[in-house]
Amino acid sequence: MDGHSAVVAVAATKDRSISAALATATCALLGNSIPAAVEAQEEPKWDFNTSLLYYGEDENRVQDLSLKAIIRRMFVDDRSLTVSLTLDSLTGATPSGAIRQDVPQTFTRPSGNAAYEVPVGVLPLDDTFKDTRVALTGNWQQPVGDTSLINVGISASKEYDYFHLGLNGRFAKDFNKRNTTFSAGISIAQDEFDSVGGVPIPFTSMLDVGDTSNRPEASRDKDVLDVVLGLTQVISRSLVVQANYSYSSESGYLNNPYKVLSIVDGTTGDTIARTNPGPLLGPSHEFVFESRPDDRVKHSLYTQAKVFLGGKVLDTSYRYMTDDWDIESHTLDVRYRWPLSDRLYVEPHLRWYSQTEADFYRLSLVDGAPLPAFASSDYRLGAFDAITAGLKFGWKTANQNDMSIRLEWYQQAGSIPGEQLIGNQASRDNYPDLNALIVQFSYRFKL
């Protein structure tokens, strides 16, 4: 070792001791109050919100396994980019809109290349429902000045028979020491139904296997415009409330291309039998494809209150919705977050929902009677009440990440207006009640 490198080695040793010597010198300067060790780290730049969802309806109806990731990249000065990805894998059967019969019924599949049979007294379900859905959203958010925030985004989703593309923007401004926030948002979307086997002309009959003469178009579009105006107000140290008014206008193809109505006898209420072309070669009875108006305007008022009650948080919201299809709905949602310890909480959840039927909702259409302007037997346009009851457990992991699991039961019970029931229909269960189980596991972590 030559003299030069020896000097360097001494200097290096000396450097290593500087931190400790400095601590001693600082202690002498500031007195013996030993400060706690420094804890500093760079602010996380990534926020990952991931979840796995199982949604399952009873009686082999819709099952959905869904994977969702909401990824947020945070930049300084409160700017952020949020990208979300959802993958849904759907299987199962869904009501076709036809009613139960005392004889077996045969239906042509939506694809038009096969038929299937529904046994006596069983609610007709279309069992070929199988789809994968991919949905992507991207949003950029940034402050404007000291009191405003803008957010612009894009959304797209693709299923086998459906494509959605949307743009949205939102502006929020704080007033009154940030106790009041006004927000306005607009969203436009264009959706395209590429229904399997072509889009059927409304009110045309379900045809034999192989006959696509009533499906001249491969796809139809729908345009959606949403406007949301919101006001958030801090009332006190432990109470904050929000009120939103939403306007939504849809126009274009608003039908469900797979839903049909049964054509029934005006006295017995039984579906009119067709001269069957042969076993499994076409429909056994008369069914026509549904017909909905080509526009719909919805208005809704949403209010939410969140109150802190000595560690527990009560979150209540109510929504009133009305539209020009004559549907009115009320939704009441209550959640109560109850901390069991610093790291663990339990949150019971109850939701009540009630809607009236659309003015064109029909259980069936009478053979020979003049056709109404519009008709649909989609159970979602009927009158029903629904209840959701759930329980969520949430906890913080050792590295301050959030995990939660929730279990919820969703139940729909509908009714058909008495005057719509004809003859034998009165003795049958016409409304497809629905029971579903929701299990969702979420993990949120930051990097």
């Binding site: 797209a156 959605h164 106790n179 949301v228 659309a358 979602r380």
Partner: protein, 69 residues
């Protein structure tokens, strides 16, 4: 729309006596007191109810973007 704006301004003005001082935001700043606490759960619910009921949105945009049979 003009009437709506005026009404809104009056509402904002009327609220100015409510609220808290900046240093009284200890509780409001908690994560569980944010109006949206779980974005993934909210988006999931919006989607489920959109596909099963005739109403949608309210809390935010209407959700949707699916064929939802």
């Amino acid at each position: 729309m003009k009437t709506a704006t005026v009404a809104l301004l009056l509402l904002v003005g009327g609220c100015s006596s409510m609220g808290v001082e900046p240093w009284e935001r200890d509780i409001l700043a908690k994560e569980e007191m944010q109006l949206t606490t779980d974005a993934a759960e909210g988006a999931t619910d919006d989607h489920i109810y959109f596909s099963k009921e005739a109403s949608s949105g309210g809390r935010a945009f209407g959700g949707g973007g699916c064929g939802c049979n």
